[in-house]
């Protein structure tokens, strides 16, 4: 690569939103033919920086130069014309149109104003062939998987004669082989001289494909490094601005509690609880102050198991006792009355109400539990909300900000806070750390450990085995919608042991 001249130079970029400085004098540059990772926690300013580059936001200060020439990017179209193309996390194409059209719409080959469909399809097929994709270009995009749609989005972006290609978390919904395919395409583009800006929460992926990385924190530039000069641990420390020791601490605490938890009184006991087609009958006991982790592959029935305990789905056999009394969880309201809380994995669709403020979102469940005829006094609300904003370190610490303006990790914390203030006996958390960054992950883990210290029973569902191992006293392993094994999380239990159980399917 050498020290050739950068294709993109952003200097002193400043962006202010009402009440927050999102970007504070950030410098950022990219060279032709490199993959450049933009790193930072949620809320560090990554998305804002990208949006200033794609013309979604206008900058309040600083300068953007493309190929040495100062430019003013006032909209997505202008960005494209200037050679900056973007593929967003959620595929932004029109799935009702054909593959070929999605690549060429707005730039269709025409003659006398009439679109030349044949030529368009041929060119689309050629372009996809360059990316090693063999698709039926006249089929609607909706007939292909998300991964293929993503590649089509990249094909579109590349064909706009892109000099800078921005890939904003392209891998978050892809499986391993699809990620490999994407990386192959990225390397190919890199060789043809395109500068690729890559954003991902997966550090391994960053290290596999990137040449250089820039770290942001709280809207400020922390540093630009060549990937090989910085270890993963150093990178994470730069991102969160503190030592990783905090994470280790969590593990010790969990260890300490293990003995104690086993002797506590059971909060819920499921006997032969099951639902046809969703989860086979299972026995599970969760004690006070105990964290029970659920491990298993995607679709193994983790969420289905948890939903029965909350009455989100109705069990069709077996029985359940809560605090020693048999209960029939007809619906979530009944479960909530019994002191069971469920923080769902789809925070966007099932939990967070984006237009309400942080305070309103937090207070929601408690108010519902009290009934709407007895409003919680405003002063009391402020007190509770302040306490949890501090305890969970929700940032920005402004209770009156609409939740949709918060980053993913902070939305997750708001959702947790909502359930915590109802002081549940059993807290079910489904994938609390998905799609959030390392720092926020550690904080949520720390919080779970603290809650169990305080006597709360926790059912912790996560796709990440390490997380489950770190936090749980007991681990339930699922496979094919069946709880196949229950393990005490003792010193001998590690990820390999669990993977073996999942693989063999045997109950030992």
């Amino acid at each position: 690569m050498g020290e050739q001249s950068p294709v993109l130079e952003m200097t002193g970029i400043r962006k202010v939103f009402p009440g927050v400085v999102a970007l504070d004098g950030v410098d950022f540059r990219m060279f032709p033919g490199e993959v450049h990772a933009l790193m930072g926690e949620n809320g560090a300013g990554k998305s804002t920086l990208i949006k200033t580059l794609t013309g979604v936001y206008e900058i309040d200060g600083g300068e953007i130069r493309l190929g040495g020439v100062p430019v003013r990017i006032s909209g997505p179209l202008q960005a494209q014309q200037a050679g900056v193309s973007t593929v967003y996390q959620e595929v932004n194409l029109c799935t009702n149109l054909s593959v070929a059209e999605n690549i060429f719409i707005g730039r269709e080959p025409r003659r006398f104003g009439k679109i030349q469909w044949g030529r368009m399809r041929r060119r689309a097929a050629e372009l996809l062939a360059r990316l090693d994709l063999d698709l039926d270009v006249s089929a609607p995009l909706s007939s292909y998987s998300l991964a293929i749609q993503q590649m089509v989005a990249i094909a579109r972006a590349v064909d706009v004669e892109a000099r800078v290609l921005i890939l904003d978390e392209p891998t978050s919904s892809l499986d391993a082989s699809e990620v490999e395919q994407l990386f192959r395409v990225m390397r190919q583009l890199k060789e043809s001289g395109v500068a690729i800006l890559f954003v991902s929460h997966f550090l391994d992926q960053i290290y596999e494909v990137s040449d250089r990385l820039t770290v942001l924190r709280n809207g400020q530039l922390i540093g630009e490094h060549r990937v090989e000069e910085l270890s993963q641990v150093q990178l994470v420390e730069k991102m969160i601005g503190k030592e990783l020791a905090a994470l280790e601490d969590v593990e010790d605490k969990a260890q300490r509690n293990r003995e104690r938890a086993a002797e506590a009184t059971p909060v819920v006991e499921a006997r032969g609880l099951g639902r046809t087609g969703a989860i086979a009958p299972y026995d599970l006991t969760i004690h006070e102050g105990e964290v029970v982790g659920l491990a298993g592959l995607l679709g193994s029935g983790r969420t289905e198991l948890a939903r029965l305990l909350f009455g989100a789905d109705k069990a069709d056999h077996g029985e359940l006792t809560v605090s020693g009394k048999p209960v029939n969880l007809r619906n979530p309201q009944v479960a909530m009355k019994k002191g069971i809380a469920f923080s769902s994995e789809n925070r966007r669709t099932e939990g967070i109400i984006g237009d309400l403020t942080v305070r309103e979102n937090i207070i929601l469940a408690l108010q519902a539990a009290r009934g709407w005829t007895r409003p919680i006094p405003r002063k009391k609300q402020d007190e509770i909300v302040d306490k949890y904003i501090k305890a969970l370190q929700i940032r920005p610490a402004d209770p009156e900000r609409p939740v949709r303006n918060l980053s993913g990790g902070n939305q997750q914390k708001v959702l947790l806070a909502r359930w915590l203030i109802t002081e549940p006996k059993l807290l079910i958390i489904d994938e609390p750390t998905r799609g959030i960054d390392v720092g926020a992950k550690a904080e949520i883990q720390r919080l779970v450990a603290e809650l169990s210290d305080g006597g709360m029973a926790v059912l912790f569902v996560s796709a990440e085995l390490e997380e489950v191992l770190r936090l749980s006293h007991k681990i339930g392993v699922l496979r094919d919608r069946r709880l196949i094994e229950e393990l005490e999380n003792t010193a001998g239990v590690d990820a390999d042991r669990i993977m073996q159980t999942i693989a063999s399917g045997a109950t030992s």
């Binding site: 997505p76 179209l77 494209q80 973007t86 967003y88 932004n92 194409l93 029109c94 799935t95 009702n96 149109l97 059209e101 719409i105 707005g106 269709e108 025409r110 104003g113 009439k114 679109i115 090693d132 994709l133 063999d134 698709l135 039926d136 089929a139 609607p140 909706s142 007939s143 292909y144 998987s145 991964a147 293929i148 579109r156 082989s177 699809e178 490999e180 395919q181 192959r184």
Partner: protein
């Protein structure tokens, strides 16, 4: 080099060769095929049950009798394809007929009146489109306001029916095109069919047409892909306003009069025709040929009821209502399968 599995996900359990896909009608054609089948069944049962139903003039007259609805539904198709709705078209028709009749009565030359009223319709549409785009107003509300505005203006101008005595209007009204022995049609049917043809070409072969589909598919994506979303939306409502005004002109030619209560509720008939023709109300899917079929279906129901003789014409509404339900459920099923 690895290859990824590129089998379209809709093919459940089919062989995994991506190139050789077994023929089956594309999901987006299912509603239009259903409408076409329905039309053919209705027509043949009409022929079987009633004397003279098979006469070609019965079918040809469908175009004459439904010319206004067809033109309006063509404009509506564009609007619905973007995911919008235009409730003002019936009122724009009445305003156009009243204005046309009044201006002609006042001695304006017909060749000035025609472009004036057409431009006015387009302008009303453009105004609604601008309100929808710039102020982010729901199309339902914006065009509902347009409906009241246009209808109110028409009633202010004149509440009575105004006869048209202009020579040109009368000449066009009385002109007959002989298609075959005993089969004649009127110029308004030709205009309506031309409108369908132009619309079909525009939707399939121009950037504007494809942008309409893209916006209906996902307006946010369309914006991020750099498509002129605002411009297209305004253009679509302008077009719908223009089509409504053209429909009004055809109305005034057909009846050689203008009346402020003309075209009452026609917007709903047009929407129904689009839906029966397979245009998805959520936008992004459907064809103007489908709309044509939808109009013919509603027209044929009326014809059958006329032939039956002992049925109240209110039955047309009831049957159209039943069909609407059926087709909306069909669309639901088709789109759910495509997910």
């Amino acid at each position: 080099m690895t290859t990824v599995d590129m089998t379209p996900v809709t093919e459940k359990g089919a062989p995994t060769n991506p190139r050789r896909r077994v023929y089956r009608p594309n999901a987006k054609y299912i509603p239009i095929i259903a409408t076409l089948s329905l039309l053919m069944i209705m027509y043949s049962s009409g022929v079987a049950n009633y004397e003279n139903f098979g006469d070609p003039s019965v079918f040809v007259n469908l175009f004459r009798d439904n010319a206004v609805l067809l033109v309006v539904a063509v404009g509506m198709t564009f609007v619905i394809l973007t995911g919008g709705i235009d409730l003002s078209v019936g009122a724009v028709i009445s305003l156009t007929t009243v204005l046309t009749a009044t201006l002609l009565k006042g001695g304006w030359p017909p060749l000035v009146v025609l472009p004036t009223v057409l431009a006015l319709g387009a302008l009303i549409g453009a105004g609604q489109g601008a309100v929808i785009h710039f102020f982010k107003v729901e199309p339902f509300i914006a065009t509902l306001a347009g409906l009241f505005l246009a209808r109110g203006t028409a009633l202010t101008i004149n509440q009575e029916s105004i006869p048209i005595r202009d020579e040109m209007w009368k000449a066009i009204s009385e002109y007959r095109i002989v298609l075959a022995e005993g089969v004649v049609t009127k110029p308004i049917a030709v205009v309506a069919l031309l409108a369908v043809l132009i619309a079909a070409v525009t939707l399939a072969w121009t950037r504007f047409g494809r942008n309409v589909y893209a916006i209906g598919g996902n307006a946010d994506s369309a914006l991020l892909m750099g498509l002129p979303v605002g411009r297209t939306k305004i253009a679509v409502y302008t077009l719908s306003g223009f089509c409504a005004a053209l429909g009004g002109v055809l109305f005034s030619i057909n009846s050689t009069s203008g009346w402020a209560l003309q075209g009452n509720g026609l917007e709903l008939d047009a929407i129904a025709a689009c839906v029966i023709g397979g245009v998805l109300l959520t936008g992004g899917s459907g064809y103007v040929w489908g709309t044509l079929l939808g109009v013919l279906v509603t027209g044929l129901i009326q014809t059958i009821i006329n032939f039956q003789g002992d049925l109240n014409s209110a039955w047309t509404r009831i049957i159209v209502g039943v069909l609407l339900f059926a087709f909306i459920v069909l669309q639901r099923l088709v789109t759910r399968k495509a997910r």
